[in-house]
Amino acid sequence: MIQLLNTLLIGITSGGICALMAISMVLVWRSTRVINFAQSGMALLSTYFGYEAIVNLKSFWIALPVAMIGGALFAAFIEVVFMRLLVKHSSSGPIASVAPIIATLGLLGIIRAIVSMIWGGQDVRIVGPLSNDGFTIGGETLVFSPLKLLILISVIVLMLLLSILFQKTNLGLSLRAAAYAPEIARLSGIKVDLVRTLGWALAGAAGAVAGMFQTINANGYLSPYSIEFSILLVSGFIAAVIGGLESLVGAVIGGLVLGVSVSFILMYVSSSLGFIAPFIILLIVLFIRPQGIIGAKAARRA
């Protein structure tokens, strides 16, 4: 029973991190109609910003907002100097449909190369604010730890803040309107280009949190070609697809579904399926419900 709860909580924690990544991919998809494969590179760079802040300021709770702001600014920069150029230049020929995909991959390569030029290829370490040693209940030591609990709570708080932003504020309404119907948004006086950049910035901040948490949730080690960030990218994408790619609520549900099912597979089937399990879940979802498990209609709701 305790083991079951343990597995569930671990799943929800890693699912929450996935969900943050999925949110950042959905935000970009909605504003630019691009799956941003560079999102993991952006999260990586932001996490290095966070690492620098920890080294210099010795506090995780200052490092987290530093990473978020850094990630937001960098994402906005990418949108303004890179994506606008891409949209302008690639509209014809056989490459038109794959150009954005290829361009974001190239961007990922550039970011990773630059990060390893600056910080080197070796591991650096980010230490979380709490211990990652599991709770002990009735003599049994669990995997679920105080640190994981903290991550879980932080993710929930961030999601609540995001949903307030989207549902209750003018900025949220502008973001949604610009995503669903750019022309109507313009005719309503919304500066769509600016709002698009803000959407990217928000995605960058969400990705930064995902990167920081992914790192401390694993073992705290960070390196430019770390597999953790590739996993983060793929699981974020899978979570977004499960949620129907259009919906933020869907992204959260997708992340939780993915996190919990992977956690159960690892615990009860085989602990070495960590890489292949998400891929199989993705294939199952694509075969059964290509539009995502949240029906197309409900999924449109932000």
């Binding site: 003018n170 109507i184 948004a185 313009r186 309503s188 006086g189």
Partner: protein
Amino acid sequence: MSLNVSNLTIHHGAICAVNSVSLALPTGRLAAIIGSNGAGKTTLLRALSGLNKPTHGEITWMGESILGKKAENLVRRGISHVSEGKSVIPQLTVKENLELGAIWRRNKKELSESLDQVITIFPRLGERLAQRADTLSGGERQMVAIGRALMSKPRLLLLDEPSLGLAPLVIEQIFQIIRDLTTSMRITVVLVEQNAMGALKIADLGIVLNLGRVVAVDHADALIANPAVRAAYLGY
């Protein structure tokens, strides 16, 4: 004259969609632009709201040139455009759709005043504020679209085929409301319509476009009486 268009020419690639069009409209008047498919009506209207870039010519509004200004900035100068085909955002609620129109004003008090005003004009929307726009009927959606435009307190309202796809009774109702907007609120309206008869009946001024050129301008009543226009556009 509050709206002045002179020698406006607009190209789509190599094709000339609007060719040296001139027109003038005093404040608080309703102009109907009619003509067959492909006459350049929508292109002309989209140029007035800043969605199209004209090749030549001049547009002035309240004595100032608005040529080449962006749509999102023209809203701030009192120009609201309702584009073709019930321009609402189906994923948003009715209330959110309406609020969009006033979003650039950032003033909660004005917003709720405008909302009350729109609900007075379209009482039916008041009952449906919390519903998603895709649950509405065609006529209700058109009301939301016009309502959104009114939320920005426009002085110039540009309407693109508000009657498209609606039932005759609903069309009559919508046209009546549009007429009231000019009469009681002194809003200047440019109405683009395929439904030529309905549009001319409520309009002060009628403009007939053909292949991008103005072929007739007159008082709306005079156009209805004009045998050539009757034969070509009114169908009798």
